[in-house]
């Protein structure tokens, strides 16, 4: 089991290293980064000066090592627009995104998993059909459209909820629903499939043969077994939520890193963009490591064998 954990951690480190390298290469593949930073009418002299100032005139491998060295000291460079460390800018916005992602995850898991359980165990009932309709809607309506629809209905027409900003708690409701809807559908579908798959297994029939009701079998045995694929999905969905936040935060004027990403791209503040891209990638890697460690708790076959 220790082997397994160590293996997963090594894989994670390799993955993070890969991400760092890819981000670096992409940033430099797109041409001379200096050109991104200067105004269109800048003179060649100004460009050369800025290039030297930012160190872009050095050989690429030196820049790469310098970049990695900087990262070890959590130095992600200074924002060329705001003249403060890029990391500080992202850090100041991060709590908002965490708050929003938590809200969305609550919607996704809190509705998605029970919906999946009901759809799997109460097949062919009215409630299962209604849930299936909701799930298909959540899955097929694009996020930007559902966000605007929510604003139109609950913000503009009914005036129940604020349409933008991150002031009171009520402002979180619509963005959380809009951001969580797609994940909710994914959780519902995966939970449903996992449970139906488990219900067909021999141990369910064996459980009934010893006098358990289907409900007892579901709660004692099936849910735990079905949780394994759902944990995998949960890890991926947390990363997807952060990526989805880019759109939702823009629509709802939510001051998180998604909005910051759009603003930074527009103002060509590429060091800030770089921090955001790295952050989202780290979250992907870390959640999948976390999922691997949760398997250890849930599944004795992993705990005892590997």
């Amino acid at each position: 089991m220790l082997n397994y954990a160590v293996q997963r951690l090594i894989q994670a480190i390799v993955a993070i290293f890969g991400v760092l390298t890819i981000v670096f290469v992409v940033m430099h593949l797109s041409g001379d980064p200096t050109l991104l930073l200067v105004p269109q009418d800048a003179s060649a002299e100004m460009i050369a000066q800025l290039r030297h100032q930012l160190g872009f005139d050095r050989p690429i491998h030196i820049q790469y090592l310098d970049y990695l060295y900087g990262l070890t000291r959590l130095d992600f460079g200074i924002s060329v627009v705001q003249r403060v460390p890029a990391l500080d800018i992202v850090a100041s916005r991060l709590p908002y995104t965490i708050q929003l992602a938590a809200g969305a995850l609550l919607v996704a898991i809190g509705i998605g998993i029970p919906a999946g359980i009901i759809m799997a165990t109460l097949r062919d009932t009215a409630i299962a059909r209604i849930l299936a309709a909701i799930v298909v809607t959540g899955q097929s309506v694009p996020t930007f459209l559902s966000a605007i629809l929510l604003i139109f209905i609950f913000g503009v027409t009914l005036r129940w909820l604020p349409t933008s900003g991150a002031g009171e708690l009520s402002a979180m409701i619509m963005p959380s629903i809009a951001l969580g809807a797609l994940s909710m559908s994914t959780f519902a579908r995966m939970t449903r499939i996992a449970i139906i798959d488990e219900l067909g297994k021999d141990y369910v029939r064996a459980g009934r043969a010893r006098g358990l009701s289907l409900r007892e079998i579901v709660f004692r045995h099936v849910l735990r077994n079905a949780s394994i694929p759902v944990i995998t999905i949960a890890a991926l969905e947390i990363g997807n939520l952060l990526a989805g936040a880019v759109i939702i935060e823009t629509v709802f004027a939510w001051p998180g890193i998604g909005q910051l990403a759009i603003q930074s791209i527009q103002s060509r503040d590429f060091l800030v963009v770089q921090v955001i891209v790295l952050l989202i990638s780290f979250v992907y890697v870390l959640t999948s490591v976390a999922a691997d460690l949760v398997y250890v708790v849930v599944d004795p076959r992993i705990r005892l064998v590997r």
């Binding site: 021999d202 029939r205 009934r208 043969a209 004692r220 076959r301």
Partner: protein
């Protein structure tokens, strides 16, 4: 069978239909306490459906359209689902073909055996575990204290089947149904499991209904045999009578197809020509007629009843007398 004590389990004229076709068609048999009845037949003859019906666990597509099943004085087929649940595992238990798959992979075997006991008895967890430990000893699992805390994947197939037997017997049911209990196991383990089952029936006076397609298993464990063909009983008899003087051509051919040590090496395996008819190919008469070397016009037109051949031996064949002649000539 008249020589046996009062029957414990009686299946009477059981009919099960799937999509309008009677895939089990009016079968009847009884089992006395401490006796083993084997239901034998090819895949699809309805033997497994019969066993599921005994536990009220027919798959959703199948429906019992007639007949009754009694356990002692209790009519199982009249029970509601809720009442049946109280009987399952306590009065009548079943073990399945795939022992490893029949256990929850994420729960220790001790917890699963103890839970089976607590389903029907209000006792503390500790008491249930003590009972589970005792049960592991009874089914011959060495080092039970360690095994209790192991997971199914840590045990071999034979071990898992012993666990399943523990679960099935922990509430001391009066009837144990065993659906191909040794098919997934290798031959030496198979013999051990059959020995164990034999020991348990004698000790506890449990009645066993064993479902199998393996004549070797039948010879090893059964007291009585019901040979099923296409949803009907072809022949039912005490095991020795059936093996020595089968009175149904299907049984005779089935026995002839069992390879023997005296066969020439690499000799072709004996087979029965043709295949089992599907439910929509059933004719009005004997369902084996199309494959039967003795078949006549009457066989195809008229369904043979189960004729009494004496000594508890009954055969559903118009030609039981010719079968007797054949045995006479051979002797």
């Amino acid at each position: 069978m008249e020589t046996h004590p009062r029957p414990l389990l009686s299946v009477d004229d059981l009919t099960i239909e799937i999509g309008g076709a009677n895939v089990v068609d009016g079968i009847s048999f009884t089992v006395a306490p401490g006796k083993v009845m084997a239901l034998v037949g090819e895949s699809g003859c309805g033997k497994s459906l019969t066993s599921y019906a005994m536990l009220g666990l027919l798959p959703p597509a199948a429906r019992r359209s007639g007949g009754t099943i009694h356990l002692g004085d209790q009519e199982l087929t009249a029970l509601s689902e809720r009442a049946f649940r109280k009987a399952r595992g306590k009065d009548i238990s079943i073990i399945f073909q795939e022992p490893s798959a029949s256990l929850d992979p994420l729960t220790t075997v001790g917890a699963q055996i103890a839970a089976a006991y607590r389903t029907h008895h209000k006792v503390s967890r500790a008491e249930a575990y003590a009972k589970a430990r005792q049960m592991l000893e009874d089914v011959g699992i060495p080092d039970p204290d360690r095994r209790l805390h192991q997971y199914p994947f840590e045990l071999s197939g034979g071990m898992c089947q012993r666990i399943m037997i523990s679960i099935a017997l922990i509430c001391s049911p009066r009837v144990l149904v065993a659906d191909e209990p040794t098919t997934a196991l290798d031959v030496t383990i198979q013999a051990q499991i059959l020995d164990l089952m034999k020991k348990l029936v004698t000790e506890r006076d449990t009645a066993i209904v064993i479902i199998t397609h393996d004549m070797g298993v039948v010879a090893d464990i059964a007291d009585d045999v019901a040979v099923m063909y296409a949803g009907r009983i072809a022949e039912i008899a005490p095991v020795h009578a059936l093996f020595e003087k089968p009175r149904h051509p299907y049984t005779a051919l089935l026995l002839a197809s069992v390879p023997k040590l005296s066969d020439a090496p690499k000799a072709d395996l004996a087979t029965i020509e043709g295949r089992v008819p599907t439910p929509n190919e059933f004719n009005a008469g004997c369902r084996f007629a199309d494959r039967c070397p003795l078949a006549t016009e009457r066989c195809r037109a008229e369904q043979p009843p189960l004729f009494d051949c004496g000594g508890g031996h009954r055969s559903a064949c118009w030609h039981i007398d010719r079968m007797a002649e054949i045995h006479g000539r051979a002797a």
